[in-house]
């Protein structure tokens, strides 16, 4: 791996690209999963409609990041893609099923006036949003712990529910709480009146929920999964990242208490980015730790596509990313401000 670009080799570049895409995905779909998780807390039809339409024009644009992130992982680290997805078969299938249910609920809820129809889709929408956030965390928890990978990158675990271990559940709940906080802030930006007042109360609960689950998960990680803090112990300078993460998280309640929700949203987004950066620093250059033996670890080098392929994809990203960024900006600008229900709404 002598081929480098600005002193960084191509697999590392692609690691950064994938990391950036996943962070973008978590920040964007994070707020709409979070908003969905709160859905059943709103009792009035009008509130539910407003909340749904706050994510209405953007949710499927947000899911594009999943498609691109998945594609980038497949393209850049095919070995990881193959091993991780087949090892985490059940959680990924459940993730897909809930993703479908959620999309269906958003699309179909408003199509009939009947109370039972709307109630049914409200439940569907909210439960799937909760499960999606939780499952993302569960997969992350499994990646952080490492998987039973053996010869030929083959996952040797068995059992239907192996993915549902205590640590994975912990990370899942933390992810859910983080997204609920993030989503509540997003809804505060997009709504007004009674719903807005209600959300202010809900946000306080969300922040407490997040602080508790984040603290427990962090402590458990430090105590029982020591390999996840090796890099920081070896390179004290890196401690700046946990510090920044902490400051960024602490800023959220501070700004929320001052009702500066746009800034609070910025910092909750930044916190998600920082938390994933912590994960990335810890893992790098490993992508997936083998619990069988170190020699079976999947890292960015043995998992990477050829340098030629990575170069082509860097060019594709260099051309495509500014395009995507510019029209994403345009779409958000078109729909900025408080939600207005019109005849094209859900």
């Amino acid at each position: 791996m002598t081929d480098k670009f600005i002193g960084i080799d191509f697999p590392t570049w692609w690691f950064l690209v994938v990391g950036g895409l996943f962070s973008g995905y978590a920040i964007l779909d994070g707020f709409d999963f979070g908003a969905g998780a709160w859905h059943l807390f709103f009792k009035k039809e009008q509130s539910r409609r407003l909340a749904l339409n706050a994510v209405g024009p953007v949710w499927d644009g947000n899911e594009v990041w999943l498609v691109i992130g998945g594609g980038a992982l497949f393209a850049g680290f095919p070995v990881l893609y193959a091993t991780l997805f087949s090892a985490m078969y059940i959680p990924f299938i459940l993730f897909l099923v809930f993703l479908i249910f959620r999309a269906v609920a958003i699309e179909f809820r408003g199509k009939e006036e009947m109370l039972w129809w709307r109630k049914m889709w409200d439940i569907c929408y909210s439960v799937s949003s909760i499960m999606l956030a939780f499952l993302l965390g569960v997969v992350l928890g499994n990646v952080l712990q490492g998987l039973a990978i053996g010869d030929d990158y083959l996952y040797q675990g068995a059992g239907f529910f192996e993915f549902l271990n205590p640590y994975a559940i912990m990370v899942g709940v933390t992810t859910l709480s983080l997204f609920m906080m993030h989503g509540a802030i997003y809804l505060l930006i997009k709504t007004e009146g009674k719903l807005f007042d209600k959300l202010e109360g809900l946000l306080k609960k969300a922040m407490i929920f997040f602080m508790i689950s984040f603290t427990i998960t962090s402590l458990y990680t430090l105590l029982y999964i020591p390999h996840l803090s090796d890099d920081f112990k070896a390179e004290p300078l890196l401690f700046i990242f946990p510090l920044l993460t902490f400051l960024s998280i602490a800023n959220v309640p501070r700004l929320a208490s001052k009702k500066r929700y746009k800034w609070a949203f910025f910092f909750s987004a930044l916190s998600i980015g920082f938390m994933l950066a912590l994960v990335a620093i810890e893992l790098y250059p490993t992508l997936l730790l083998s619990t069988v033996s170190e020699q079976y670890n999947i890292d960015i080098y043995n998992a990477a596509a050829s340098t030629k392929s990575l170069k082509i994809m860097m060019i594709i990203v260099a051309i495509g990313a500014p395009l995507v960024a510019s029209y994403t900006y345009f779409v958000y600008k078109t729909f900025s401000g408080k939600v207005v229900i019109d005849d094209a709404s859900y």
Partner: protein, 458 residues
């Protein structure tokens, strides 16, 4: 073995279901661009109404297309891990390009297309409609490129051995323009245009037969008929090119399409027939030497047959491939017949007097759908036993970490969810069609009296 079969059933089921929707989105996209373009040009409110109406139906097909499409992407990793490792280096860049150039374009502009009618200027909205349509066209480019690479691999070399072997890209453009991609892409695009055009034809024929929304439906029917006529005819051309390519690049598949067994003899073309795989014979109505003529422009020239290949290198389901292929071709001919006949009456100015013809067009929406599906069945089953032609066998490509039980679980889950999706899709489609092209807010300007008087006077 059981795992392989289940993985194949799941993939076939999920991809076939997925493929109901993207062609409709591409085809409706084309018609929406035409309608809205005409609106911008003529300022005729009818076109605006048409565009809004079809946008709502487009939103349905697009939404289901997206979610069932994400399933496909994930399934490469979950169910076909060995395949993913093998092709990732080559296939991956096409998929990445699809995501970033096509899908992001589509989904980005979709918000404005659906919700932006009152928020942006008409021309900005038109640009968004075009953006969504182009996005869906580009999507097809990269997906068909990737699939064509599996049919006719190019621009790569093999590195490593055994389970570690994989294809690495050597020439991006040779991969993109592999021998079959252009022919297959045009074939797929046109198939998509036809499925959209026939949905529009069907719905407006229904209104015309029922005597509702006469003026707007006549306009829409004529535009869709023009699109359908042009493309059902040109589909013949791209189909022929594709077949030529198959003859050159995948001779075993070509032989299976016509059930041609003899290793090197002149080959017949069947209008319909039945392949007896045991005795390696075909019975049916045939044009002797027809396939020879199609490929070599000579009725007596020999064509390579299935017996030229080892048993383990031939498609396992020759009769199925034969039937699917012939069904596709027959439907193609039927579409040409229907559109030419309707165009003839249009030319004579008597199109809308032919109630029987309009009634034929009402159920016609199903035809391009079937043709698209069985065309892909023939293409994919004809490629067997290979997942990457000549390089990687399907029987080696599935995920070994996944047990048969897990796939059975997911298969049942997908079956239930997709049955629900299909039901909801049809229910809502039906509801939108019954509701008609006019919004409640537009109800007052609706040319009701004219509709009725038109219906009475015919």
């Amino acid at each position: 073995m059981e795992t392989e079969i289940l993985a194949r059933i799941q993939f076939a089921f999920t991809i076939a279901f997925h493929y109901i929707y993207p062609p409709l989105s591409i085809g409706l996209g084309l018609l929406m661009v035409i309608f809205e373009g005409l609106y911008i040009q003529t300022k005729n409110q009818l076109y605006h109404t048409l565009c809004r109406f079809w946008t709502k139906i487009f939103a349905l097909t697009f939404g289901i297309g997206v979610v069932t499409g994400i399933v496909m992407e994930f399934e490469f990793g979950t169910n076909w891990a060995v395949y993913s490792r093998y092709v990732g280096d080559v296939f991956g860049s096409a998929l990445a390009a699809e995501g970033i150039f096509a899908f992001a374009l589509e989904s980005g502009f979709l918000g404005i297309l659906l919700f932006g009618w009152n928020r942006v200027k008409p021309w900005v909205h038109f640009v968004s409609t075009v953006g969504v349509f182009l996005g869906s066209m580009f999507s097809a480019v990269w997906i068909v490129v990737a699939n064509s690479w599996q049919q006719t691999p190019a621009g790569f070399h093999i590195v490593g051995e055994g389970m570690q072997a994989r294809a690495e890209i050597t020439d991006f453009w040779a991969m993109v323009f592999n021998p079959s991609s252009v022919d297959r892409l045009t074939h797929v695009w046109i198939g998509a245009f036809l499925s959209g055009a026939f949905l529009v034809l069907s719905v407006h024929a229904y209104y015309l037969v029922k005597g509702r929304y006469i003026e707007i439906s006549q306009k829409a029917f004529k535009i869709a008929l023009l699109v359908a006529t042009v493309f059902s005819l040109s589909q013949l051309l791209t189909g022929h090119h594709s077949a030529d390519g198959v003859a050159k690049n995948q001779p075993a598949k070509l032989a299976a399409l016509e059930g041609h067994y003899p290793a090197n003899e002149k080959a017949d073309m069947y209008l319909f027939g039945w392949v007896d795989q045991k005795n390696e014979t075909v019975s049916g109505l045939k044009i002797p030497g027809g396939l020879s003529f199609l490929i070599h422009q000579d009725f007596d020239k020999p064509v390579v047959g299935l017996n030229a290949f080892k048993k383990e290198d031939r498609p396992g389901q020759v009769n199925a491939v034969f039937q699917f292929y012939h069904l596709m071709v027959s439907i193609g001919m039927l579409l040409i017949g229907m559109t030419l006949l309707a165009s003839f009456y249009w030319w004579r100015g008597k199109l809308f007097d032919q109630r029987w013809l309009l009634m034929l067009f009402v159920p016609s929406v199903i035809l391009p759908q079937i043709a698209n599906q069985v065309g892909w069945f023939a293409a994919e089953m004809g490629r067997q036993p290979w997942v990457v032609y000549g390089l990687l066998r399907t029987s080696q490509a599935f995920s070994q970490a996944v047990s048969a039980n897990q796939i059975l679980f997911s298969l049942i889950l997908f079956f239930l969810v997709y049955a629900l999706l299909l039901f909801l899709f049809l229910y809502l489609l039906n509801k939108k069609i019954k509701h008609g092209p006019y919004d409640e807010s537009e109800e007052e300007d609706r040319p009701m009296t004219k509709d009725i008087s038109d219906a009475i006077t015919g």
